[in-house]
């Protein structure tokens, strides 16, 4: 077990490095470099372009030096907590991200709970009562959930809410609570604003989970050991709960990383449509304005978060399944 954990942690490091290279590639992706874009935008606004500032920025990011040196400068700065400066917000990237990240986490966590609270029971029911009306209905609803793009679902729900109540459900608080100090009313208001986006973000993950649980449970139920147990007279309930469910849980856990990915992608697009104060809209704005240090840092942070999630799911899997901890 210890060996497995150490190996996993060691694997973590090269993956981190690859991810940082990837995020750096995002920064380098636009045809123009960061400072050139800045100059173009300042000139477009009619601002005075301060030569000293430009030169200082160039020196700071090592622009003009070979790429690998730029990468090392960038990664070195990150290690001491300096993610660079956003020109669109005119603030340090780290501060923008710290302002927004808690909301993103809260939001993703709610969605995560929804995914597992809804997905597992439904997948289980669907497999145990295969080909029943409930199974067909749930499978169909699941398919629909998988098929509707998140942004469409968000728009449709916002529209429905607007038609029904005449109020726009945007942002994370209603107007009267926006600047009010924390109170129970404000908390309820937050929940009210949170559940629709959390549900939207959760749909894709939930339907994915339903499929996985259902398919795995069905696979396990066909195996000879189940038939053998049935032949020996084990009751159907125990038959399912004792072994197939235990085995079908493995893929569910190994899919935590996948669910996280779906959540983060969903969070980004849903927040953009609904206008939540999370990372998503910042990423979009950063990309539209080619504010690449901000965009690259966001990609980096989101990736590291998912990576940690995957690591945790791998370790959990090893705890639950001895074949994994001893094999491979």
């Amino acid at each position: 077990m210890q060996g497995y954990i150490i190996r996993r942690l060691l694997y973590f490091i090269p993956t981190l490095i690859l991810i940082s290279i990837d995020s750096f590639a995002v920064i380098q992706a636009p045809p123009r470099d960061f400072v050139t874009t800045l100059v173009v935008q300042m000139e477009a606004r009619g601002d005075q372009v301060d030569e000293d500032l430009i030169n200082a920025l160039r020196a700071r990011y090592g622009l003009g030096k070979p790429l690998w040196q730029q990468y090392l400068i960038w990664i070195g700065n990150i290690l001491i907590g300096d993610l660079g400066v956003s020109m669109a917000y005119n603030q340090p990237v780290s501060r923008i991200i710290m302002d927004r990240l808690p909301w993103s986490l809260l939001f993703s966590f709610s969605a995560f709970l929804i995914v597992y609270a809804i997905g597992f029971p439904i997948g289980f029911l669907s497999a145990v009562r295969q080909y029943s009306i409930a199974d067909y209905f749930l499978t169909f609803v699941g398919f629909i959930g998988l098929a509707i793009p998140n942004f469409m679902l968000a728009l449709i729900l916002l529209w429905g809410h607007f038609e029904a109540t005449g109020q726009a459900l945007v942002g994370i608080f209603s107007v009267e609570y926006a600047v009010a100090p924390w109170s129970f009313g404000k908390f309820l208001d937050l929940l009210y604003h949170l559940w629709i986006p959390a549900l939207i973000v959760g749909t894709a993950g939930t339907t994915g989970l339903i499929r996985i649980v259902r398919a795995n449970l069905l696979d396990e139920r066909k195996k000879p050991y189940v038939t053998a147990a049935r032949a020996k007279g084990v009751s159907e309930t125990r038959l399912i709960l004792n072994y197939p469910v235990r085995l079908a849980i493995n893929p569910v856990i190994s899919n935590i990383g996948y669910v996280l990915l779906a959540l983060i992608s969903g969070e980004v697009i849903t927040s953009i449509v609904i206008g939540l104060p999370t990372i998503g809209p910042v990423l979009l704005r950063a990309l539209q304005t080619e504010d690449m240090y901000l965009a690259g840092s966001i990609v980096l942070i989101l990736s590291v978060l998912t990576l940690v999630g995957t690591l945790v799911s791998n370790l959990l899997l090893a705890v639950i399944d001895p074949r994994i901890r001893h094999g491979v």
Binding site: Y11, A29, P31, L155, W159, E290, T306, T310
Partner: protein, 385 residues
């Protein structure tokens, strides 16, 4: 009476005989059928999957013959039809059944609020014609014609309404299918090539290649796809033409998408390596190539097919979402995502709900691919149960 009874009894036993023969014939046909035949039989029994295949075939045909199916040029602007609501096809005229016809819409102003409004001109019904003449076009840039699947003589017939520039949303949706539907197939094809190659190497050979490829797969899989797609789309130069952007976006989608398929393939290879029949073949002296291509790959075609079919909609959704945010394909390119980007805000939708109709096509396509994938997965394993 007696005779008739005897006859009926006789015919009954005859049918029983027939049934017996049929079942015998069935079982012998079953045992003689090739694997692909079994797969076909089994697939045809999966009714939802067959319907899904039909729907997809129809959609792809529409995309292929977009110029013919769409009644109008998707780029022709007409200020008489800006934000025009969808028109209904009517089959009752003065209470009597008639051939399908439509009423032309006329743009006017509300006398009180001065807002634009459309009224139907009920005095001038226009019959809906099949193979009507309309805008001239060149099918695939070669065949010149002006015959469309349907059309009307007076005014326009816009079943999905008009957009902000008065362009026909139905025609645009049909043309949009071209990019949206091919991006999924092409992207998955590229991803599959990469996935089978790298996943196969990783799963079959294990050791160092496995470790390296695993790192790569895990890295790619731990990067949230949407932010990465969006970020990479920014890298595409603005001056690129539509085909260039299209290909670049397909590549971006498949670079992100191959990891899942590779993981699937790797997992299967690792599981199969331990199976008795593979050991047996190995001990029997089968070459590596034979082991992989004759023994291992065929036993998980089903999974590859299912995973591939299920990846297509992921790519279609990816294109739709990034184009919706105007970071993927951009106007003047026409794709479903580009069309949906007109409906950015729910207030737009509450004014002009028909802007969301292209979204229905996305949903139907994705659903159909999912159902098809499920049917194929069941069918490709014809010996199970």
């Amino acid at each position: 009476m007696n005779d008739r009874e005897r006859v009926s009894v006789g015919s009954q036993s005859q049918t029983e005989d027939n049934l017996l023969h049929e079942t015998q014939a069935d079982s012998s046909a079953f045992s003689r059928a090739s694997q692909w035949q079994l797969i076909r039989w089994r697939f045809l029994k999966h009714r939802v999957a067959v319907i899904a295949l039909g729907v997809l075939a129809l959609l792809y045909l529409c995309a292929l013959f977009a110029e013919f199916v769409a009644p109008y040029d998707p780029r022709s602007i007409d200020s008489k039809y800006t934000h025009a609501p969808p028109q209904r096809i009517r089959i009752l005229y003065n209470g009597q059944l008639s051939l399908p016809y439509v009423f032309p819409v006329v743009k006017g102003r509300d006398p009180q609020t001065l807002a634009t409004q459309y009224t139907e001109n009920t005095n001038a019904p226009s019959r809906l014609r099949l193979f009507a003449r309309g805008d001239s076009y060149r099918l695939w840039g070669m065949l010149e014609s002006d015959i469309h699947l349907f059309g009307v003589k007076n005014g326009r017939f816009m079943p999905f309404g008009g957009d902000a520039a008065g362009r026909d949303i139905f025609s645009r949706t049909i043309f949009g299918a071209r990019l949206s539907l091919t991006i999924g197939l092409l992207g998955v094809f590229l991803a599959l090539l990469l996935g089978i190659l790298l996943g196969g190497i990783s799963g079959y050979f294990g050791r160092t290649p496995d470790v390296l490829i695993q790192r790569l797969i895990e890295t790619l899989r731990s990067i949230p796809t949407l932010p990465l797609w969006l970020a990479l789309s920014v890298a595409l130069p603005d001056h690129w033409s539509i085909p260039q952007r299209f290909i670049a976006i397909t590549v971006v989608l498949s670079i992100v998408g191959w990891a899942d398929l590779a993981r699937e393939v790797r997992g299967k290879f690792m599981a199969l390596r331990e199976e008795g029949f593979v050991r047996a073949a190995e001990l029997g002296g089968a070459s590596t190539r034979r082991l992989i291509f004759s023994h291992m790959l065929p036993s998980f075609y089903s999974h590859i097919i299912a995973a591939t079919t299920l990846s297509v909609p992921v790519m279609i959704l990816g294109e739709t979402t990034s184009s919706f945010l105007s970071l993927g394909l951009q106007a003047p390119a026409i794709s479903w995502g580009v069309l949906l980007s007109d409906a950015q805000h729910f207030r737009v939708i509450s004014q002009t709900p028909w802007f969301m109709i292209p979204g229905l096509f996305v949903v139907v396509t994705v659903l159909a691919f999912n159902f098809l994938g499920d049917g194929l997965r069941d069918a490709a394993d014809p010996y199970a149960n």
